[in-house]
């Protein structure tokens, strides 16, 4: 029994576990799937959008810088084309020009100089003392001679300050000369330095050798290797016009996003760099919120699954219990029917021999009545023996007829029953058992009770159970079971009272529960009273119990007269 209980509880536990996992799986899968897909798509579109914005941003600034450079170059080109060599050779004139340019462009131009074809500075207007300087070895000079106009990289040059040069080549009397202007590095640097986004986004310019053409904000240690690799990569992808966007780890965890585009005819590279974390801060925040929501949802699902499963398994267990009880009831009824069939068979088999016996005794009696036996000494003895055979035959007949009447009542159809007759019959059937337990069954039945429509075998079962329980409860000398019936307000009230050991008050509320038993294992199923309860309730009646320890128990049944 306890083994069975243990099995059942482990079955329900595993059922609960299965249900929980199925609910969690079924609920989680779509949530995680949908959440994941949405998050991924959101991430992707955000990144795409950011890339597009970044591209446009860098392109915009690249155009600005390119425009700045070409404007300056065009200014010098204009000067060189407008004024002839002689004019430009005049230092005063050149100073005048510089003055005007500085007025016009807020001193972007630092100085102006005229250099001959051998690289000798012919005229100079500006803050430095550079007259007679030789530029024949300078790279910008060689490039300017070759390409007619040229914008140099930033360099320190003779003056020792960072600057770069815009140079235009012209011809005079078959010899070329160069008009060159120096651009204020600080002014140019400002343009690039002002390209700032957020806290970590900044821009800088590199030349092809990976040399910085502008100052870097913060104390960034230039990682030349990284930028060179970046330039190489950018060069490789040069065929693809436009801004290149790359994400790269720098150090262990810090990830940067780089957007770069070539400017100044591909000589310089404008690089915009920003911490990925900052660029995608929105995405990260959204991801955190989504993950948080999924986790909370998951927690909700887990809690719901846990409680819901337990509730459902509780229902199932309840239903199983009821089913089991009903099965038990069916089995009990079946048992009763089998007993009925058996009883009917036995009664029939016994009736014939008993009938022969009784008739043979009658025949002997007939013969004894003949004159010849009248004189016999033992006539009285013979007659008494014959009488005894007939009496005992009569007794057998009563037993078999009782058995047959019991067998007839094993069908569950409802019929009109006189309850007192039934009680009397059952008392008679139980009296033998009561006698063995030193118990007397007394009845006090109200005469003339109306018939009630009930199923006889079911009602028999109720009384059998109550009487048997009463006998079990007494089991001592002087036990009395009182059965009474009476009519009260269109209800028939039947009580079965014993003076037995009584039921502890703790057990009283549970005695009609299925499987509740105080009898030793194997002696009681704990179903008897619950079946009684079910049968009486089905009839629209009530069954009630009152008990005092060591004084006795009274079961009261109320059945409505329909």
């Amino acid at each position: 029994m306890s083994n069975n209980k243990h099995l059942k509880s482990s079955y329900y536990k595993s059922l609960t576990r299965k249900m929980i996992s199925v609910i969690i799986l079924v609920s989680f899968m779509p949530m995680v799937l949908v959440g994941g897909i949405i998050l991924y798509q959101f991430n992707k579109s955000c990144r795409e959008k950011t890339s597009v914005c970044l591209g446009a941003f860098v392109q915009q600034h690249k155009q600005n810088i390119d425009a700045f450079l070409s404007e300056k170059l065009n200014d010098i080109k204009f000067l060189a084309a407008t004024f002839n060599f002689e004019e430009l050779r005049d230092k005063f004139f050149l100073q005048q020009l510089l003055f005007r340019l500085q007025q016009e462009y807020e001193s972007v131009f630092v100085d102006l100089g005229l250099v001959d074809e051998d690289g000798l500075l012919l005229t100079y207007a500006g803050p430095f003392k550079l007259e007679k300087a030789k530029y024949s070895e300078a790279e910008w000079f060689r490039k300017a001679i070759k390409e007619h106009y040229f914008i140099s990289d930033v360099f320190l040059g003779l003056r020792g300050f960072p600057h770069f040069i815009v140079a235009v080549t012209q011809y005079h009397n078959g010899r070329c000369y160069i008009l060159r202007a120096t651009i204020d590095f600080a002014k140019f640097n400002n343009i690039v330095e002002n390209v700032r986004v957020g806290e970590t986004g900044f821009a800088f310019i590199l030349n092809r050798k990976g040399e910085f053409q502008t100052n870097l904000p913060f104390n960034i240690v230039p990682d030349k290797g990284l930028y060179m690799a970046f330039i190489k990569r950018a060069e490789k992808e040069k065929t693809r016009k436009g801004v290149q966007i790359v994400e790269k780890y720098r150090g262990f965890a810090k990830k940067h996003i780089y957007a770069a585009d070539f400017l100044k005819n591909g000589e310089w590279l404008l690089v915009f760099q920003q911490d990925t974390a900052e660029v995608f801060a929105n995405i990260r925040r959204t991801t955190y919120i989504a993950v948080f929501l999924i986790l909370m949802g998951g927690l909700g699902i887990v809690i719901m699954a846990f409680f819901q499963s337990r509730r459902m398994v509780g229902f199932i267990a309840e239903a199983d219990k009821e089913k089991e009880m009903m099965n038990q009831q069916v089995i009990e009824t079946g048992k009763l029917a089998t007993i009925g069939e058996l009883a009917s068979g036995i009664a029939h088999e016994i009736n014939n021999p008993v009938a022969i016996m009784v008739e043979e005794a009658g025949w002997v009696q007939d013969l004894l009545d003949e004159q010849e036996f009248r004189k016999s000494d033992n006539l009285d003895e013979f007659e008494s023996a014959v009488k005894q055979i007939q009496t005992q035959g009569q007794r057998c007949k009563e037993i078999t007829h009782k058995l047959l009447s019991f067998a007839r009542k094993t069908d569950a159809r409802m019929s009109d029953v006189q309850i007192n007759d039934m009680i009397n019959e059952l008392v008679e059937l139980s009296s033998q058992r009561a006698k063995y337990s030193n118990t007397t069954i007394k009845t006090s039945l109200q005469k003339g009770l109306p018939l009630i429509k009930i199923s006889e075998p079911e009602m028999q079962q109720v009384f059998f159970n109550l009487i048997n329980n009463a006998i079990d409860a007494i089991n001592r000398k002087g036990g009395i079971i009182n059965i009474s019936s009476q009519l009260q307000d269109n209800n028939i009230i039947i009580s079965v009272a014993d003076n037995g050991s009584g039921i502890p008050s703790d057990n009283l509320p549970r005695i009609f529960d299925p499987f509740f038993t105080t009898k030793p294992v194997g002696k009681g199923t704990g179903l008897g009273l619950s079946i009684c309860y079910g049968i009486i309730k089905k009839l629209g009646g009530d069954i009630d119990v009152k008990s005092v320890l060591e004084k006795g128990t009274t079961f009261t049944i109320r059945i409505p007269v329909s």
Binding site: N351, M357, D366
Partner: protein, 136 residues
């Protein structure tokens, strides 16, 4: 022959049908002792053969027999000899069977073991009914 017939006329002619031979035997003894002309048969077939040979006033049939159901025999007898009075005698008290027997034309029933006096009274009663029917 005519004297013989008159004797026969005064006696109640009873056919006993039961597969319990001892029972038939002892009943026959006791009934004969009380002036009743008893013919003993132990199966439905024998009962029908007996009927072909002679007429009876009352038939006492067992309901459960091996070769032929008592109710079946009752049906055939009632068809063969509509005026025959039949008393059913059964070892088991299936009310349904008894009710069916009464419907089929049996006049009474008894449940084994029965009081011999009851059987005798019922036979006599049946005979009276039979006689009044034939006189009309």
């Amino acid at each position: 022959m005519s004297e013989n017939k008159s004797v026969q006329d005064n006696r109640i002619r009873v056919l006993l049908v039961d597969d319990e031979k001892e029972y038939v035997h002892v009943l026959s003894n006791r009934l004969t002792l009380r002036g009743i002309d008893v013919t003993k048969t132990y199966s439905g077939v024998e009962a029908l053969q007996a009927f072909r040979k002679q007429d009876f006033d009352v038939a006492v049939l067992d309901i459960k027999m091996e070769d032929m159901d008592g109710l079946e025999l009752l049906k055939i007898l009632k068809k063969m000899v509509p005026h025959i009075e039949v008393i059913m005698l059964t070892g088991h008290g299936s009310a349904e069977e008894l009710r069916l027997g009464m419907k089929l034309g049996a006049c009474d029933y008894l449940i084994k073991p029965c009081e011999f006096k009851d059987l005798l009274d019922k036979i006599k009663g049946a005979y009276q009914r039979r006689k009044s029917k034939t006189e009309r």
